[in-house]
Amino acid sequence: MKQGSRFWAWLVFGVGTTYFILPLLATFEFSLRKRRGEYSFDAYRSVFEDPNFQTTFTYSVVVAIFTILLGVLLVVPTAYWIRLRLPNLRPVVEFITLLPLVIPAIVIVFGYIRMFGSNSTLPFLATARGTDVLLVIGYAVLALPYMYRAVDTGLRTIDVRTLTEAAQILGAGWTTIIARIILPNVLIAVLSGAFLSFAIVIGEFTMASLLNRPAFGPYLQNIGANSAYEPSALAIISFAITWGCMSLIQILSRFAPKSANRPN
């Protein structure tokens, strides 16, 4: 009986793993076939040597960093304040942060184009820099569900109210409390949200394309439309970047401040 259930468990595990791994292996295998008759990394070399790859990737990394900064500045104080003073508003805020999952990016970006065109009172789209700022804002909105949930989960693991009061009674103001007590204790959660934001920004296509910015997403699409092996190589590179982010979350979580209540 016990052996039978173990067999089925392994079978399900095997089927699941195959389902995820097989397409990836096939893509990887295909990406190595650029040279006729033998495996090579030519497709990867071609991708890395392409100046457009370097430009668009660098652009997206910079945009991702600004997106993360904006997200942290927006989400950490909000989630903290909701938990501390306005717990009744939590369902409302959770609903608002879920909206980007429900509203397609194309709707958001068309809204931006209409709202912030060159004739509007806030003409973000009148300059390239302004459009970059709008793209960062748009990405921060897209990453909001992940960032908010990550930070909120982090805040749930600490006694926000008592720690805040303990710091207040020792003379600390709000900036000190958030910077020295709250943020360090939810740092891993913030980093989780940050890496998820990074992964979203790196692969995003719709907003960057419609706002006509030289981002990595539109580059991926362009390569996919015009080459055979490079898109597979880029898919593997994108996976590697995402996995790298996830591994960093795992590694950094080891350095998280341990709670007195949950020492392990």
């Binding site: 009061e165 303990a166 207040q168 600390a172």
Partner: protein
Amino acid sequence: MADPFLSIQHVRKSFGATTVVEDFSLDVEPGEFVSFLGPSGCGKTTVLRMVAGFEEPSAGKIVVAGKDITRLKPNQRNVGMVFQAYALFPNLTVAQNIAFGLKVAGMPKADADRRVAEMLDIIKLPQMGDRYPYQLSGGQQQRIALARAIAPKPKLLLLDEPLSALDAKVRVSLREEIRSIQKKLGITTIFVTHDQEEALSISDRIAVMYGGKAEQVGTPFEIYNRPATKFVANFVGTLNVLEGTVTDAASGMVRVNSQEVALKGKLNGSKSGDTLSLALRPEAISLGRQPGRDSSLAGEISEVHFLGSVIRVRVGIGGSTVSLDTFNSPATPPPAVGEKAEISFASSDMLVLH
């Protein structure tokens, strides 16, 4: 008489339609250790939080050292506080936790380090500076929390049920330590607890609270021996309550279960025929007639519990049961259940509850 150090004046606190503290007033002398004692929901923590600045009174004012602090923010009050849940900052070491308030106040690092070392010595954990809170036991964490609270030399120390989360043995040793540190530093302290033994053992005065009001404020001796209200008498210590009827108000005679007891000078205002609640502490009752105990009641032993050094005996008197403690004597066997017995007490020890 000198001005009180802390003066809580006619403070009231309401949350919506619910009033949790009603017209609470208390003056605390410099260096005094005052406990707020009461059951859950009596408003004791709310009063403490108003003194700390975490809650704003709906009415009344709070004055510390002659200064009205009612509307000041918590970080402007120079008050130290120890929380029930320790509230040590998990990301900081013990030394950094203690130094937190000093750093916020802008104390130079060398001075802060000296003060931290001094605090660690006071709480007898000199080697623990580099540890993190999760590496310490509950008792050690609460000691650190105490050190952190007193490191910036606050004017007032507030202790919000600091011992509730600790096991019984640690509670006793830590409460003695808290009292000794408080005496040594001479810091005015408010201690909130629902544990009467804790309050009785370490306080200069106790404010017994119930329903958002102070039922009685007095020394532990007064609170225990001369409870002002029925609630205080019932809440503090163990009490035997007997119903009695005044038979002769002039001579103080009261009938308890068909037996007469004389309570001279204790019936203030009662008329013959009135029903009274009479209370006796277990230690005020002896089994059998004893010298100095002028009153007695006859009954039957209903329960005997051997507790080691003490034997707790319950004696049925009519429809009531009276508990009393006798010391265990190896030469004398404990009384048996069902035996006829007489209990005696000094009528002056009998409390008439109003």
